[in-house]
């Protein structure tokens, strides 16, 4: 077991190293893309529509935009090397600080959504696989189809309409916490956890209530791929020879389905969950917008619309790094769950 784990770590380390060139590529590509996109940040950030030529030139000079693109790239890369992602023109703060403030919000939302999605999808997939072709199977398929074809902002708005407007169960859908609650001391950045650490149950409940609607509308969208994969791999697993062996010695139904079939079937779900997580983190800008969630995706979108280069570049770099990291975690989880992987 220890050798297997060691091999997994070595493999993970190698994977991390081999992803560095890709990260660099992403960096350069985003930089160039921003330069190619139309829009002049100097004009945008000048004091007003009637700003004079000199003022714009001055801003341009301040931002280093008067230099050639290769020169700018070199400056940019050396800044990155020093851990400086630049300054946002929108917020006037260093991008690193902005991202650090906003990333926990996005992560908390995405983790919660993924958790909800997994808790819903795996049992749904298993139930569907246990009775393929039955009414339950078709019901699950319909539910998945609906989840995928309704855009997240529509389902988000529907949820707000029902639970906030009609039933009044959910709080005002703006932000992570209502303005009157005092924030707990920041430790993890995840409000729900920070409140618990501070022993503030009321605050924790308030944060959870704020979290639940956006998380559910995000989860609805990704239940489908997870449930479908679970169903497919569960079907394979249930039809496999080792499940037949388990049945042949009379193991209990629970043991056959959970220990033998599901544990094998869950392996591909781990991989898919990693991909889904990376996608959700960046792509759910719509949910962040609908619920005024102060996450990184909406921050990047605002920056993009106002031709604010640094935050967008920082955001893409962050996403790429997270993607690598998530894949790494998936790899390690997979290595622990499946003893065959450590063998090349």
């Amino acid at each position: 077991m220890t050798t297997g784990l060691g091999a997994t770590m070595v493999r993970a380390g190698r994977r991390l190293l081999s992803s560095l060139p890709a990260l660099f590529g992403v960096l350069v590509f985003t930089f160039l893309l921003m330069r190619v996109l139309p829009g002049d940040p100097a004009v945008f950030f000048a004091s007003g529509p009637n700003a004079g030529k000199e003022e714009i030139e001055l801003i341009r000079k301040q931002m280093g935009l008067d230099k050639s693109v290769p020169e700018q790239l070199v400056f940019y890369l050396s800044d990155i090397g020093h851990g400086n992602l630049g300054r946002s023109m929108m917020t006037g703060q260093p991008v690193l600080k902005d991202l650090r403030e906003r990333l926990p919000a996005s992560l908390e939302l995405t983790f919660t959504a993924l958790l909800i999605a997994l808790i819903a999808a795996v049992p749904l997939g298993v139930i569907a696989a246990l009775r393929p072709g039955s009414a339950v199977d078709h019901g699950v398929r319909l539910f998945c189809a609906l989840g995928v074809c309704v855009p997240t902002f529509v389902s988000g708005l529907l949820l707000i309409y029902v639970f906030y407007y009609l039933l009044g169960l959910a709080p005002d859908p703006t932000g992570r916490i209502d303005v009157f609650t005092s924030l707990p001391p920041q430790r993890t950045g995840f409000l729900s956890i920070d409140f618990l650490l501070a022993g503030d149950v009321e605050g924790w409940w308030a944060a959870c209530k704020q979290l639940i609607l956006p998380a559910v509308s995000m989860a609805l969208f990704v239940i489908a791929p997870l449930a479908r994969i679970t169903r497919a791999s569960m079907l394979v697993s249930l039809g496999s020879d080792f499940v037949r062996t388990a049945r042949s010695v009379g193991l209990s139904w629970r043991k056959v389905v959970v220990t033998y079939a599901l544990r094998n079937a869950i392996l591909p779900v781990i991989t898919i969950a990693g991909i889904v997580f990376s996608t959700m983190l960046g792509a759910n800008v719509l949910v962040e917008k609908v619920f005024s969630w102060p996450g990184v995706a909406s921050y990047a979108l605002d920056a993009l619309l106002s031709s604010d280069y640094a935050p967008v570049q920082g955001f893409v770099l962050l996403m790429a790094s997270l993607f690598v990291l998530v894949n790494l975690v998936v790899d390690i989880c997979y290595g622990i769950a499946d003893p065959r992987v450590s063998i090349e």
Binding site: R244, V249, I343
Partner: protein, 556 residues
Amino acid sequence: MSEDLLRIEDLHVAFSTRRGMVEAVRGVSLNVGAGEMLGLVGESGSGKSVTGFATTRLLDAAGRVTGGKILFRGQDVTKLRGDDLRHLQGAAMSMIFQNPRAALNPIRAIGLQIADAILTHKRISKDAARAEALELLRAVQIRDPEARMSAYPHELSGGMCQRVMIAIAISCNPALLIADEPTTGLDVTTQKVVMDLLADIAAARGMAAILITHDLGLAARYCRRIAVMERGRIVEEASPGTLFSTPQHAYTRRLVAASPTATSRIEDLVTEEERERYAAVVSKPRPAPAHGTPPLLEVRKLAKRFDQGAAAVADFSMTMAGGESVGLVGESGSGKSTTSRMICRLIDPSDGDIVFDGQSIGHIASRDFHRSPLRKDIQMVFQDPNESLNPRFTAFDCIAHPLMRLEGMRAGDALRQRVEECAERVGLPLDLLPRFPHQLSGGQKARVGIARAIACRPRLLVLDEPTAALDVSVQAVVLQLLDRLRRQNDIALLFVSHDLNVVRMLCDRTIVLRNGGIVEQGESRALFDNPKTDYTRRLVEAIPHIDTGKALAAAL
């Protein structure tokens, strides 16, 4: 006969398929006494496995018992439900499956898997179950059982996995053990060891057993009574001696004839009625090659090392004359397939040279060899007729493909003529040519594979276990076909196989490989009758013999 442990009465099993209900078992009646080992023999599709699965209640969802009774200790198994059924499975009867590696949970340590089975039927602590599991691993003679407890199936060989499977099956001392092709796919030597173990354990614990197999020789070796199944029915039931000396049913006669034995010749593989057509070809003596003819193939000190570990093949040298047939035998991992692929120029040797017809071809990279004019002279027939045919190509396309690629033929009448000629030579009915592989039977697919290989009139045909996936009666026909092609067209055959009986019949010379090196070689019959090394002797002794009947038949 009232104390039969298992009595099957007029069993019918049907499967619902897209084309409606298909009856797999139609009226099987059997009985097994306590402690008895019954052989259930038949070819694929005969319903022997389905009978086994119906008995242990493991039919898949599409299968249903539509009639008859399965009485186990007087209780009808087909009517059991819930806890009674679970008590039956494992505790009263258990099953051993064909593919041991797939039959074990790949991500659960084998010790736990055995303990799972124990804990299902006994109310004991987990530690006690672990101790019992360890004891079982000892009983099935697994070396270093303490360490193996935490091993996963992929870390064990096929034979080891089958032992673990046996340990699971006997964990709760069932009264009846059903072994479904327990040794198919294992090496002959492993096969013997595993079967001996299984027989010993069953005898020592007084378990009755049903051995389901396609191999008459295997059943004859271990069972006192054999039931022969054909198309869902039992056609004959007798002791092995009677079965081989005086088979009653026409199907049994054909099956007995087709089973290769230590003494059978290739022309013996069909019953006498079918023999004449073939005899005409065989009787024609082959002209001896003129003295001083250079060998067709000369292999010098061939070696292959893969990325890590020891050499797969080392220092392999051989020569072959035109029209000669040479067998390459050995256990799995002995390097026989690697060697054959190097000679075919499908993989590159690490060292050594291959000379074909006076030209050195060992140094042409395998990825470029398809451009060599010699490509069409060396062709290959692969092991699995299902996997080696492109599922989107019709039989015609399969055979035409090498003609178009290697001889530059264009679609048209000439091509059609050549393809049809090839099909005729391998005995493939012409109306099957437009069919896709999934519409052909195993034997027909094997013929397509051979027709494809001989389409460009090669001078050397390399065959990698070409009959391993076929039923014996189909194998008999394919072997005769190969022998006829060799005699008629002077094609040299390099025959890779683990089935020594087949090699003995088909090949003039045999080379025995072990761990990538040649252990022994010589004229086939002499080599098998008088093996010089222990390794070869073990290989030869491991083959199940059914010579009792043959000897009788010869004496008559």
